[in-house]
């Protein structure tokens, strides 16, 4: 296996350094800011590891949406000063951490260097799988149950966060001028980019999740810019949130009743099925993540 | 238990259980005011069970054993067999349950929570009969632990702080015992597979005792300790006096028949039908058991001397009398074994009479202390007579039942070459006399104290001294005590059946 090149060492050091900064900064704001930087550095690392899909997802979801959620919490900084962990606890924690790390590094050195069975299996079966890009094929055909359940996790997280909201949601009224200006430019661009990512997914890095994150970003910008439709938690919003999961289950049930079995995509119409499900999934993920953002932002609003 | 019995697969043993289980479950759902329905259900169940026993006794004596088996877990099954010994104990239980039901209905007239009481009362008898009919160790354990659970609410029935404390001690002791029995049974079943009760001891267990005496001894000790709690062997007996907080019918049935006899019955089953007398003796456990029983006999009688509360005195008397059976079972002589088995029956009848009388004194005149009983015979002659008959029986005076079971024990002791048994029996008889005769003397001879409340109070002169439903059961059991003594020769008498069973243990 190729020895570690300079770029790898620098990148690894950068990731570790930013991670340490993110967890060691005492103030909440510092930690969140460092976390955003970590998101970007990780995206670079994923690109370096030949995983453009993951780099996109990391930038869009990991530091994008999660970053937006975290930044949103900063506006409600609690007055309570953070109590520091006890001296002994810190020492014990560090010791345990060191021991664990040492053990893990020893274990990890024993990882065999030849590839697993799966890349070959995927390459072999990909021709009729409804998507040329291997990752999308895995996500939406070979391991489609994982993707379905993952979308379900998002739906029920949104439902859970939504349940915590006590008072009806209102879009922020005093919207500063630059925000509306930015929104007017960003919204169409984000939607366009999202759609492109969605369609590119079948042949190149892209797909439902990255597109969903783009749509979520668009909705968040719309909400911040005061658009009423983005702030609604009504039936329509909830319907779109669950649309992805329902579409997937409908496909599964359909293939079970009519086709050869649960989620068995016949090569003839596999491509069409994958694309339609991906589209509904992307929009549903976008609305779902936006609902989580809206629920979060609303949860802090004290009814005046 | 007789070796040459043909085994019939039949549903009778299950019906025996259902006759008290079904009424019990139904009674739970009855409202308090449905007295008549509850009474009929109770009586129907009791009578049906006695009738079934009457049907089964001639069959079993003729050598036909009824058996019902249910698969439970792979390799282990619940077995109910109605052989002579199990029917012997089942007969005792169902007979005295019938009598006690009548007594309880009278005793609890107008008391709260009667549906709950009679529900658990029926479940308690179901468990007792289940223990009697158990065909293997697992089934025995099954009903042994169930008995603890259903008797706890009975002991705590009154709901007073004292009752709840007493019940808690009772639960702690009996569950402790239950855990030990569970350990013993699991250990044995794992080593030799499911153990059926077979006359003269199970072959597999004998084989185990030969190969691994250490383990066999350990299992034996664990089982004895577990069963010893319910058999009230010293030092595991402390729960018995404490459980006297229970209402009279509960004390009567539980501490004369159900709970305590379950322990002793278990010991006899383990010693005779699991290990077998020879094997148990070779392991040296027989001697340990005999000594423990001897100590308990004397200890029980001694403590009974100092108790002023009548029920406490009877409780310690039970502790002592129970160990007669254990002692008899632990002697290598058929006569002693027969005596022990008969004593199970006779002690049951006599002790239940005494508890009935104690309940009568408490219920009618509100007297619970021995010292308060001065001259009570004048007011309640019939109860006093019943008490006296039972007391003389307990002391072992001929021609009463007590003599019929104590005498063979003494002979057995000599026959087994254990002369100290005779000494123990003699001292115990003297002690019995020492704590019963003063009560009889107080009842009959001493004039009632002037200040006694029951004397000054104008009492309506009724035809009989106490409610019939309380008095009649006491008289019946007193009569039984006399009958078992006099008609010991009858071929269906407890003594005869006990002798048949005893022969089975000496192949």
């Amino acid at each position: 296996m190729s020895p570690a090149s300079v770029l790898d060492v620098v990148l690894a050091a950068a990731v570790l350094a930013v991670a340490l900064v993110a967890v060691l900064l005492p103030s909440r704001r510092g930690a969140v800011s460092a976390f955003l930087v970590l998101g970007v550095v990780l995206a670079v690392l994923w690109a370096r590891l030949d995983a453009p899909d993951i780099a996109l997802a990391e930038a869009a979801l990991g530091s994008g949406v999660a970053g937006a959620l975290l930044m949103d919490t900063l506006t409600a900084d609690p007055a309570r000063p953070g109590r520091r962990a006890g001296r002994t606890a810190v020492v014990v924690g560090l010791l345990a951490g060191a021991v664990a790390l040492a053990a893990l590094t020893v274990v990890v050195r024993a990882v065999p260097d030849e590839p697993s069975l799966l890349p070959a299996a995927v390459a072999e079966e990909i021709h009729g799988a409804g998507a040329d890009h291997a990752v999308t094929a895995v996500l939406l055909n070979f391991r489609s149950l994982d993707t379905l359940l993952e979308a379900a996790v998002l739906v029920f997280a949104a439902a859970g966060a939504g349940a915590l909201v006590r008072t009806p949601v209102r879009a922020p009224d005093p919207v500063p001028a630059p925000v509306t200006a930015l929104a007017r430019v960003l919204l169409p661009a984000l939607v366009l980019l999202g759609t492109w990512l969605l369609l590119a997914g079948t042949s190149r890095p892209g797909g439902a999740f990255q597109a969903g994150a783009m749509f979520a970003g668009a909705l968040v910008v719309a909400f911040v810019a005061g658009a009423r439709f983005a702030a609604s938690q009504g039936t329509a919003a909830r319907a779109w949130t669950v649309a992805g999961v329902l579409a997937f289950v409908a496909l599964a049930a359909g293939t079970a009743m009519l086709g050869q079995g649960w989620l068995v995509l016949d090569p003839r119409w596999a491509g069409a099925a994958v694309l339609t499900v991906e589209t509904v999934l992307a929009v549903s993920i976008g609305v779902g993540l936006a609902q989580v953002f809206v629920a979060n932002s609303e949860a802090r609003r004290v009814p005046s | 238990m007789n070796p040459d019995a043909q085994v019939h697969e039949s549903v009778l043993p299950v019906v025996m259980l259902l006759t008290s289980l079904v009424p019990g479950l139904v009674i739970f759902f009855l409202r308090e005011d449905q007295v008549r329905l509850r009474t009929t259900l109770n009586m129907a169940g009791a009578v049906a069970k006695v009738a079934l026993v009457a049907v089964l006794v001639p069959l079993v004596v003729a050598g036909q054993v009824q058996r019902a088996a249910f698969p439970w877990l792979p390799g282990v099954e619940l077995v109910l067999t109605a052989d002579t010994f199990s029917l012997f104990f089942a007969a005792l239980s169902s007979l005295l349950w019938l009598v006690t039901t009548v007594y309880a209905i009278g005793y609890l007239e107008g008391a709260p929570h009667r549906s709950r009481f009679f529900g658990f009362f029926s479940l308690c008898v179901t468990a007792t009969v289940g223990i009697a009919l158990a065909g293997n160790l697992l089934t025995f354990l099954f009903f042994y632990e169930m008995l603890t659970l259903v008797t706890y609410p009975l002991v705590a029935h009154r709901g007073t702080r004292a009752a709840l404390d007493g019940a808690r001690t009772y639960l702690a002791y009996t569950l402790g015992g239950g855990v030990l029995v569970l350990l013993g049974v699991v250990w044995l079943t794992v080593l030799v597979g499911p153990v059926e009760f077979t006359a003269g001891g199970a072959a597999a267990v004998a084989e185990l005792a030969a190969e691994r005496p250490g383990t066999a001894t350990a299992i034996g000790l664990v089982l004895l300790a577990g069963l010893g709690v319910k058999a009230a062997i010293f030092p595991l007996h402390r729960w018995l006096p404490v459980a006297m907080v229970a209402p009279a019918p509960v004390s009567a049935l539980l501490h004369a028949v159900a709970v305590v006899k379950a322990g002793v019955y278990g010991i006899v089953r383990v010693v005779h039908d699991v290990f077998g007398l020879r094997v148990f003796a070779d392991l040296g456990l027989l001697h340990v058991l005999a000594v423990a029983a001897g100590v308990t006999i004397v200890y029980g009688s001694l403590r009974a001397l100092t108790q002023d509360d009548l029920k406490k005195r009877l409780a310690y008397s039970t502790v002592s009398q129970l160990s007669y059976v254990t002692l008899g079972a632990a002697l290598l002589s058929p006569v002693a074994t027969a005596g022990a088995l008969t004593h199970i029956f006779h002690q049951g009848i006599m002790k239940i009479t005494l508890f009935f009388c104690a309940g009568l004194f408490a219920e009618v005149l509100g007297l619970s202390k021995v010292s308060q009983l001065a001259g009570v015979a004048r007011r309640m002659p019939l109860t006093a007579i019943a008490f006296t008959v039972a007391a003389f029986g307990m002391i072992g005076l001929p021609p009463l039942a007590g003599f019929v079971s104590k005498w063979p024990l003494a002979l057995g002791g000599l026959d087994a070459g254990e002369p100290w048994v005779l000494a123990v029996l003699l001292t115990s008889t003297l002690l019995n006399a020492a704590y019963f005769l003063p009560v009889i003397h107080t009842l009959w001879v001493r004039p009632p104290e002037e200040g006694a409340r029951w004397v000054t109070e104008p009492h309506r002169v009724r035809s009989i001294e106490a409610p019939a439903s309380l008095l009649v059961p006491a008289l019946i059991t007193a009569a039984l005590t006399l009958a078992c003594g006099v008609f010991a020769g009858w071929d269906y008498s407890p003594w005869q059946i006990a002798r048949i069973i005893a022969e089975g243990s000496y192949p």
Partner: protein, 140 residues
């Protein structure tokens, strides 16, 4: 032909170096300047310029080698277009953010001039998220 590529490479490296220099300068400005508007000014202007140089360097590199690590369709033209788009969006983002951060600090246009401020310009109202990065900023 390789001569053109060599020259392009040298040019790309120069442009990238210049870009990095300006980014570092902007960050230094962020750390060194005292109050909010000046720090905002520093970081916005210099970083954008730096990013412009880096983008230019990459464009030259892409033109020279016909597709780089970004790969994907459209050959060199596609990449150049995407790189320029990246730069434009970065500019848009920085502009909007600078406005938002600076807005509360700017006195309302209509309000009259406040009386003489107390001696020594205190640091602007703390609205920016003061990163307690171990920056050694001595108090003004």
């Amino acid at each position: 032909m390789t001569a053109v590529v060599a020259v392009a490479d040298v040019l790309a490296v120069l442009l990238l170096a210049a870009g990095c220099f300006f980014v570092v300068a902007g960050t230094l400005g962020l750390l060194r300047f005292a109050d909010l508007p000046t720090r905002l000014h520093g970081v916005a202007k210099a970083d954008n310029l730096g990013l412009g140089f880096i983008t230019a360097g990459l464009v030259v590199h892409a033109l020279a080698h016909g597709g780089g690590i970004a790969g994907g369709g459209g050959g060199a033209g596609g990449i150049v277009a995407k790189l320029v788009l990246v730069w434009l969006f970065a500019l848009l983002g920085t502009a909007a953010n600078s406005h938002l951060l600076a807005a509360p600090a700017r006195p309302e246009p209509g309000a009259e001039e406040k009386p003489e401020r107390e001696p020594g310009p205190g640091p602007g109202p703390e609205t920016t998220p003061e990163p307690e990065a171990p920056a050694t900023r001595e108090a003004p």
